[in-house]
């Protein structure tokens, strides 16, 4: 192997380094070979003393904290090869296609991002409507669960009516006994009404609390996944194998976000219902009070 071959081969191995650094190192080796030759050694012998070029290059790269395996990894990151025997000045000529390449890649990325964005938007609408449908069903279900209680309320109202009829009846019979029975009956009725109201209030309270807890829980998890969505691309960019984690984070964010939104919306609706219900009850109790007074 002659000096030219040796130097150009070594340059190939060192192509990760800046041109200036490559020159510095190659200069030293060239001088070393020259001096050996001055001492009377042949070109061949002088170069043989360096041992394997690959090992030598690995040692040089190690001095720069560069992984010698770098060059072998994927062609994507391959730097343009310097031409054999031609001394540097490839700086500009090699820089241009590189940047062009980067631009090309960037535009492709933009396109891909555009598609992904559109797909996500569409999917978002669909997912949203899906969840709205689910929310509607859930609300219907919740209403169905509540029904027995509200039903018992109206049932109770009828009971009270019956009580009152009885009261009227006893009144017609006359006497203090009737009045006593009447007051006992109405007392029991008031107690019963309070008990039922208490039960309903408590159930509603539990219902709301459960939804609130669920919503907050989902919200917190969504925040965590949001952080993941933010952090994963950066790590991904740095070369960590985080594609899976990134996708999981996006999925988790969408899922948990809409779950918590759903839970919150559930909460608000049921509260509004609560208010309406309370108003209605107040009206009713007001009317009843008036009725009782007149009676």
């Amino acid at each position: 192997m002659n000096k030219e071959r040796f130097l150009s081969e070594l340059r190939e191995y060192l192509s990760v380094l800046e041109n200036q650094e490559q020159e510095d190192i190659l200069e030293e080796y060239a001088q070393h070979i020259d001096m050996k030759m001055q001492k009377g050694l042949s070109e061949e012998e002088a170069i043989r003393d360096f041992g394997s070029i690959e090992q030598l290059a690995a040692e040089i790269l190690e001095a720069y904290h560069v992984n010698p395996e770098f060059r072998k990894k994927g062609a994507a990151f391959r730097f343009p090869k310097p031409k054999m025997g031609v001394t540097p000045k490839t700086d500009h000529s090699s820089g241009m296609p590189n940047s062009n390449n980067a631009n090309g890649e960037e535009s492709v990325w933009k396109q891909i991002c555009g598609y992904v964005w559109k797909a996500l938007k569409g999917a978002g609408h669909r997912i949203g409507s899906g969840f709205r449908w689910l929310g509607g069903k859930c609300r219907a279900f919740a209403g169905w669960i509540k029904k027995p209680f509200t039903g018992s309320k109206t049932g109770f109202g009828e009971d009270a009516e019956a009580d009152r009829m009885e009261m009227e009846g006893t009144k017609e019979m006359g006497g203090r006994m009737g009045k006593l029975f009447g007051t006992i009956g109405s007392g029991i009725a008031v107690l019963w009404r309070g008990f039922v109201r208490f039960c309903i209030f408590w159930l509603k309270f539990m219902w709301n609390a459960a939804w609130l807890m669920f919503a907050i829980f989902c919200g917190c998890l969504a925040m965590v996944t949001l952080m993941g969505v933010g952090a994963a691309p950066i790590l991904l960019w740095q070369g960590y194998p985080f594609v899976g984690i990134f996708i999981i984070c996006i999925g988790g964010l969408l899922c948990l976000g809409s779950l918590s939104y759903g839970a919150f919306s559930m909460l608000i609706r049921s509260k509004q219902n609560d208010k309406d219900g309370n108003n209605a009850e107040e009206d009713k109790s007001g009317k009843e009070a008036v009725y009782e007074q007149t009676a």
């Binding site: 003393d49 041992g51 190690e62 001095a63």
Partner: protein, 107 residues
């Protein structure tokens, strides 16, 4: 000689050589070769690393024969580094020697 031994001590020998007087690459390689038998190619990466870590400064000086030569000069940080390495080496070899002697007495 075990190449692992050489690798560890090479740095110290190179630093010590340059401490006495500034040297250029080939000169240094010859100097080091007198102490330990080492692949000539491995000294340049070492010089590069020590220069990158600011233990060496380099300058060019014309020579009567051939192109200008790159001389290496030990910096203040380099002197401190050499001293700490020399200290480590002393301690290390004293311990190893003691251990080996102790073994010989037992046998």
């Amino acid at each position: 000689m075990n190449p692992q031994f050489k690798k560890g001590v090479l740095e110290l020998i190179v630093l010590e050589s340059v401490r006495e007087k500034d040297m250029y690459g080939y000169e240094l390689v010859e100097e080091v070769s007198q102490v330990i038998d080492v692949n000539e190619g491995t000294i340049y990466p070492l010089l590069k690393r020590l220069t990158n870590e600011r233990y060496f400064e380099t300058y060019l000086r014309e020579s009567s024969e051939g192109p200008p030569r790159k001389y290496y000069h030990l910096t203040a940080a380099g002197i401190l580094y050499r001293d700490s390495l020399a200290g480590e080496w002393e301690e290390f070899q004293a311990k190893v020697n003691e251990f080996l002697k102790g073994r010989n007495v037992h046998e």
